[in-house]
Amino acid sequence: MKIDAIRKDFPMFKNKSKKGYDLIYFDNAATTFKPMKVIEAVNEYYTKYSVNAHRGDYELSYKVDTLYESVRDTVASFINCDRKEVVFVSGTSAALNQIAFGFGQNQLKPGDVVLSDEAEHASNYLPWQHACETTGATLEFIELDEHGYVTIETFKKAIHSGVKIVSIAHVTNVLGCVLDIKEISRIAHEHGAIVVVDGAQSTPHMPVDVRDLDCDFFAFSAHKLCGPTGTGVLYGKYELLEAMEPLMLGGGSNARYDMCGNLLMKDPPYKFESGTPAIEATLGMKAAIEYIQEIGLEKIHEYESELRAYMLKRMKELDNVIIYNEDSDSGIITFNIKNVFSQDAATYFSDKGISLRSGQHCAKLLMNFLDTPSTLRASLYFYNTKEEIDYFIDVCSQINPDSFLDVFF
């Protein structure tokens, strides 16, 4: 990894904090910085072919249409699927809602079970809860192990023949637990269940091959992999996309309709894409995927693991730090400063130029496993460095119940 060259691709690193510190961005699980290539792709749309897609009545519209559709090929080669299995959505949340309401709600019957777990993001929990409520299905949870992780073992205990849908994160956003989706799919399919994967936290950080994972649906957001906000991907096996109802109807998704109530929907993926899409964001997503592919997802994963190991080692040398997810294999480190409320600590970090998140977690998860109402989360990406970590460790070591108020005085 030519980290210096890579950092030059990101204009955000030119900024300083209010107090003049270098920007150290450790909130990559929330969203990521954008490289010039992505910014240029968006600008190119604005300055060179700023028209609507999905029609080819004139030169420019044909060009935009062609470019926009080419993003499906980029995505297809990125996650290894067919281009017609790539549905553009506004993000992971929209994708999971589309699946829960358009597929789950139509397929679930009273007594059916949706299997998930208590470490899911709200966007992969609330839609299923609602789909279960309206259909009379039941939402069951996979037990978490002593670290708060789902494992193949706890999954095996939870699955049974009543389970119709398993919906689960590839990598969870609080503890960064990485799940073996291939094995989950194998077991789920044995039981006749389909597998929905929330890939928001995995896709940016490791190679994803949906055919190999053999999951049935997969969702991710562009903005977490160096792309624009407002766009993302819903992948589904084609026959499942065919069985799914669109969450929204309107211009673009229908091939033909008349006023007598006859509606001929387009085939997937188009039937899920109503209205003018987020064109420049989607073109930006293409650039983002190409950018991270160029670096290489294997390399990114390897480098992040190295960074994480280094950061953990250094954090463990400090005696004012509690770490909650030492064993996970993602770029997410969840921790607290002893006797300092997470939000107060985050303010201290921010004051020193370090951006990280203080997060609250669902009641049960935290009571059973973390024993704290909230934590700090540092999440790394390939543009972070050991030097940044060294500085972070330095700041970490300064925070204690006496010093954290410094920023207010």
């Binding site: 999905h54 029609r55 080819g56 009545d57 004139y58 030169e59 519209s61 044909y62 249409d65 062609t66 091939a255 033909r256 001929l264 387009k266 188009y270």
Partner: protein, 146 residues
């Protein structure tokens, strides 16, 4: 090749003629015909194509619908070209037509009047108009082989 086909005015006339007087533009009610509805997502063309395929031979082609000049004329010419051909022969013609549209090498002799669409590739957004009928027959040929 028919030398006349070198003259743009002649090629124009061919298109205009097939647009005004499309050949085989009448659907039949006969269950022996395979049928394919083509409603392009990105244009107005909305046609139905029927084919009677027996003993690996295209006995008849019919079509109808609302379509632009390019779609109407190209489908009409396709129907004339392919009726009576074996599936093998038809496949070769179709391949050559596609090669022409893609601005590759192709055999003019095989395409006859269809060479009128030789420049469609330059108006990329109209390619689908010039191929909508051809896509339909190719689909039906595959169906017949199932």
């Amino acid at each position: 090749m028919n030398d006349m086909f070198k003259d743009p005015m002649v090629l124009r006339q061919i298109i205009m003629d097939h647009d005004k007087y499309p050949r085989n533009r009448e659907l039949v009610k006969d269950d022996n015909y395979l049928r394919k509805h083509m409603a392009s997502d990105s244009c107005i063309d909305d046609i139905e194509v029927q084919a009677l395929i027996k003993d690996d031979k295209i006995k008849d082609i019919r079509f109808d619908g609302v379509a632009c000049t390019i779609a109407t004329a190209s489908t009409s010419i396709m129907s004339e070209l392919l009726i009576g051909k074996t599936l093998v022969e038809a496949k070769e013609i179709i391949q050559n037509y596609r090669d022409m549209i893609d601005e590759k090498q192709y055999d003019e002799e095989l395409l006859d009047e269809a060479v009128a669409f030789q420049n469609v590739g330059k108006q990329a957004n109209r390619i689908h108009c010039a191929t909508i009928g051809w896509d339909a027959i190719e689909y039906l040929m595959k169906e017949s082989e199932k």
